[in-house]
């Protein structure tokens, strides 16, 4: 066994590094798709304006809710270390809408509290496992200033605001301005420009118009 002086030199160099810097999050290898979608959720926060009353208290965190069988796992955890406009981000998970309702069978006040918790989210990601409850979930938060995000066909038709779509091996999204307006949210034009599809609201006739975009 030949041990060269270089080994000692490298070891010395390596262990002389002692900077104290916030941790580097170990990027665990979860589904690539949900890593990308988590990053999209973070970006959405920067291009949506919430009602003043929703963000009045600057000390309150921004809440990203996830309802259903969480596909993100650990890959969404880095958001906790990325404040937006000085506000921390908190991830709140809800098991399912059925479980929220079941809790209310015996305790109406408790059920109301649970549903209220949904409404306190700034962003609510509705997992694919909740596809059969989409309309109910969207209805339950429609007046609460919540950016509802889904990944199901027809999500915008039931009142959802942003829907993830897949095209050419990449993640894209569609937006319903109509649903955003009903929720009291303002979506900035940059986000609208990048959407694959934008559902407008015709102010005169109330007919929803759909604007399809070419691929980015």
């Amino acid at each position: 066994m030949r041990i060269k002086i270089h080994i000692l030199m490298v070891l010395t160099a390596a262990f002389s590094a002692t900077l104290a810097v916030p941790e580097v999050y170990a990027d665990t290898a979860s589904s690539r798709e949900y890593q990308i979608k988590a990053a999209f959720l973070y970006n959405f926060l920067q291009f949506v304006d919430w009602p003043k009353e929703k963000i009045a208290d600057a000390n309150k965190p921004i809440i990203i809710g996830i309802i259903g069988d969480d596909p993100f796992g650990n890959v969404i955890e880095p958001l906790k270390d990325k404040p937006v406009e000085g506000r921390k981000i908190v991830i709140q998970r809800f098991k399912s809408f059925e479980s929220l309702k079941k809790a209310g069978e015996n305790d109406a006040a408790g059920a109301k509290q649970n549903i209220k918790a949904l409404g306190e989210c700034h962003v609510l990601f509705i997992c694919a496992s909740e596809n059969k409850n989409l309309r109910e979930i969207v209805e339950s938060v429609k007046n609460s200033g919540v950016l509802t995000v889904g990944e199901a066909e027809g999500f915008l038709d039931v009142g959802g605001i942003v829907n993830f779509v897949m095209a050419d091996e990449k993640v894209g999204f569609e937006i319903s301005i109509a649903s955003a307006k009903h929720a009291g949210l303002e979506i900035r034009s940059k986000l609208l420009r990048l959407a694959k599809k934008v559902i407008q609201e015709d102010a005169a006739s109330g007919i929803l118009g759909e604007e399809k975009r070419d691929s980015a």
Binding site: M1, H6, I7, V10, A14, A17, T18, E23, Y42, M166
Partner: protein
């Protein structure tokens, strides 16, 4: 070691010291660090995120990870780092279920999957960024595998199973796709220094990414390495013929007297490591540096990259063959240069067309006698390749991909590694004048081949639960006697959010090595018959909880095998089956992966009237011995673990267990039973023997690696790795069987217990 390499080592060491000293001071303030851009996904803009591909190599049409109609393994950059792997073979061996590699008596080591392995590496495709890198004339997948520089790799995708329907001939067992970093995944600069002790090596790498606009930029990478390997004391080479408790067994060799005391060495409990001095394990070809260079320019849909690699190794041969000449070996070396241009055109919202053109030059040489420098092979091949694929997605239910490829290959070119020699190949030269392939000139002719291909796939998403895939590929090769058709069909059923069922059928094909097809064509006028494999697989995946993923596969193979030694026609038909179980458990701080692969021969049948001893090293069952694959461990178990102790410290480890080689034992028994016949030059089987009590070589092999990682800052990572640590207790646990032994049974090389240190700094 010469002065040039010595100064390189000094430079590497100085770089490492500089990095350490720089980081240990208060050079970078917290504000500066916070201002540094986080180059992960969360730092990307929406425009950038929309350009990040989601899917892997497992389908031609776009689909989600869950629906990919194949068993796949993805090894991320973080997985690579935590494995401490010193080369691609080791990396795949650690992570890919039912994958293993074995040594060869005189060639580069061979990798295989699910029992499909050969005495070269032509039965799987090795890709870089989707471009096939296999050397076609002789070896198969050769480049990239031995290089201890891995930081240019963003991730590695492995399609476990036949892949010719997507990638063409050669993807019999698997497809390995190395996806490199690009400007989309890396910005800034990073340096890495690595060194290994016991198995000695020194490596330095540098990479740089610069974005010009949102969708354009360059990525550059350079790496070099001096690989000295491990000496025989730490990595002994053991031949079964060294041991005999029976004084009547002859170990004849007409060329040189065989030490009589060695021929009667008692079977040891733990072999004597000093029996045969030989070349160091892993020692670099021709004592030269191994290098890797890569550069990529991206601008919107345009992608241009160039890659150069140089590597190779000494391959120690069985000393009992040649009269015990010390330190004898074969060397195999290569260099490869590849240029690629690709462009994606968005014709409409539903239609995109991908165009690509590439050029590849691969130099390959074997030095058959290291003492005299006699060349066995020295040749260069050039490959021109173009492809057009259209992808049409009319709506969310249907997706269609179709296109064509053209490949033109030139062979018999003079090797630039050995410019003084004409192009020669060992199959055209044989030391034995009575051998049917004897060619006194030894020179390769110059020739070319063409292949025209059509391919397509249709994906039908029936509803949220059902998706089907149908596709195939038709290849027309100028040197095969039939067109090659590789169909694929799959049904994916997702009844719940947790469960996924996949039923898959695929057929893959392979053309024999270009040297073999040319030689046969010269001698008989015949064209080659392709190798074919049909595979049926049932796979089940369950996301049991947020943290736990379970998966299992059941597969059946029906293969008409063409081996290197059998020339250009099948040597027999092999039917086999197997099963794989996988579990992946992840929390925020801990990750476990566990897999077990089982593969079993059902039947190996040689053609009626054929001599089963010619060209087949598949199974001794052809001679009536057992019913197992010669060069495969029926059971392969792999475990990896990783845990973050604190924000800065993490520990990890891996364990690979090969539960014995019954097929190799059967073949060795067969060889031993032939050893009583008088020695006959033309019959390799006549000089294979070993003592029947020495069967430890066919037992369990276990390779344990442990590592510790320290990340004092976002920019700096330091690792310490220990490799093959069980060998500190018992060397035989670290054994790598030397397969394709033919007349040399019961040989192995024990891989050295070793350590490594690496330092990476990102600017």
């Amino acid at each position: 070691m010469d002065t040039k390499k010595h100064s390189l080592l000094q430079k590497l060491s100085l770089i490492a010291i500089f990095i350490g000293l720089w980081c240990s001071g208060d050079v970078l303030s917290a504000e500066q660090q916070n201002a540094d851009k986080d180059k992960d996904l969360f730092a990307m803009s929406i425009e950038q995120l929309m350009e990040v591909p989601v899917t892997t190599s497992g389908s031609l049409t776009s689909t989600s990870q869950r629906k990919i109609p194949a068993a796949t393994t993805t090894i991320t950059r973080e997985d690579i780092q935590h494995s401490g792997a010193r080369n691609l073979d080791e990396l795949l061996d650690i992570y890919v279920p039912n994958f293993e590699y074995i040594r060869h008596p005189w060639e580069f080591q061979h990798a295989g999957l699910r029992g499909i392995i050969a005495d070269r590496d032509p039965k799987y495709l090795l890709l870089v960024n989707g471009r096939v890198m296999n050397e076609i004339a002789h070896q198969g997948a050769l480049s990239e595998r031995d290089l201890p520089m891995l930081t240019d790799i963003h991730h590695v995708e492995v399609i476990r199973g036949p892949g010719s329907a997507l990638y063409g001939p050669g993807a019999i067992s698997m497809v390995i796709n190395i996806v490199t970093d690009s400007v989309k995944t890396f910005e800034g600069a990073e340096v890495t220094a690595r060194l290994g002790g016991v198995e000695e090596y020194y490596a330095g790498e540098f990479k740089y990414g610069k974005k010009f606009k949102d969708d354009s930029g360059i990525f550059l990478y350079g790496g070099t390495n001096d690989y000295l390997g491990a000496d025989t004391e730490d990595a002994p080479y053991v031949s079964g013929r060294q041991f005999s408790s029976n004084p009547t067994i002859r170990l004849d060799w007409p060329l040189a007297p065989f030490p009589p005391e060695v021929s009667r060495t008692p079977v040891p409990q733990n072999h004597d490591k000093k029996i045969f001095p030989t070349r160091r394990d892993g020692e670099a070809f021709n004592d030269q540096l191994k290098n890797k260079l890569y550069g990529e320019y991206t601008n919107g849909g345009l992608d241009i990259w160039a890659r150069y690699t140089r590597g190779g190794e000494y391959c120690p041969i069985d000393m009992t063959w040649n009269g015990g000449a010390q330190e004898d070996s074969v060397q195999i070396g290569y260099q490869q240069a590849t240029g690629y241009i690709g462009y994606t055109q968005d014709v409409s919202k539903t239609l995109t067309v991908d165009y690509s053109f590439s050029y590849d030059m691969t130099d390959f040489a074997t030095v058959t006698d290291s003492a005299t420098g006699v060349l066995g092979t020295a040749e260069r091949e050039e490959k021109y390749y173009s492809k057009v694929i259209a992808k049409w997605v009319p709506n969310e239910h249907h997706s269609i991909a179709f296109g064509g490829e053209w490949q033109h290959d030139e062979f018999g070119l003079r090797s630039s590694m050995w410019p003084h020699s004409p192009a020669i190949a060992s199959v055209f030269v044989d030391a034995c004048s009575t051998h049917p392939l004897y060619n006194p000139t030894g020179r390769l002719p110059r020739w070319s081949t063409d292949m025209y291909s059509l391919l397509g796939e249709y994906q039908w998403t029936i509803n949220d639960q059902w998706t089907t895939f149908v596709g195939g590929r038709l290849d027309d090769h100028s040197m095969t006697n039939q067109k090659m058709f590789s169909p694929r069909a799959a049904v994916v059923y997702m009844p719940t959010e947790k469960d996924t069922f996949k039923v898959m059928y695929s057929k893959s094909v392979r053309t024999p090595a270009a040297e073999d097809t040319k030689l046969a064509n010269m001698q008989t006028g015949d064209k080659a018959q392709p190798e074919k494999l049909s595979a049926y697989e049932l796979r089940y995946e369950r996301q049991q909880t947020k943290k736990l993923l379970l998966a299992g596969s059941l597969f059946y193979h029906d293969q008409d095998i063409v081996t290197a030694a059998s020339g250009v026609a099948p040597v027999g038909n092999l039917k086999s089956w197997g099963a794989e179980l996988e579990a992946i458990y992840r929390t925020q701080k801990t990750t476990f992966t566990l897999s077990h692969g089982f593969t079993k021969q059902i039947r190996f049948q040689t053609p009626a009237g054929a001599n089963p001893s010619v060209g087949q090293y598949i199974s001794a069952s052809a001679f009536g011995y057992g019913n197992d694959l010669e060069n495969w461990s029926n059971h392969v178990t792999k475990l990896t673990a990783r845990h973050d102790l604190t924000d800065k410290w993490s520990v990890d480890g891996s364990l690979r267990v090969y539960w014995g080689f019954p097929g190799q034992k059967d073949y060795a028994k067969y060889n031993r039973d032939q050893a009583i016949i008088p020695f006959d030059w033309s019959n390799w089987l006549s000089y294979g023997c070993y003592d029947s009590t020495y069967d430890r070589v066919f037992g369990v092999g276990m390779l344990l690696n442990l590592g510790a990682q320290y990340k004092p800052s976002k920019n700096l990572t330091v690792r310490l790795d220990g490799y093959n640590l069980l060998g500190l207790v018992d060397h035989t646990l670290n054994k790598r069987l030397i397969g394709y032994s033919g007349g040399s049974p019961a040989n192995y090389r024990a891989e050295a217990p070793a350590f490594g240190v690496s330092v990476t700094y990102k600017f």
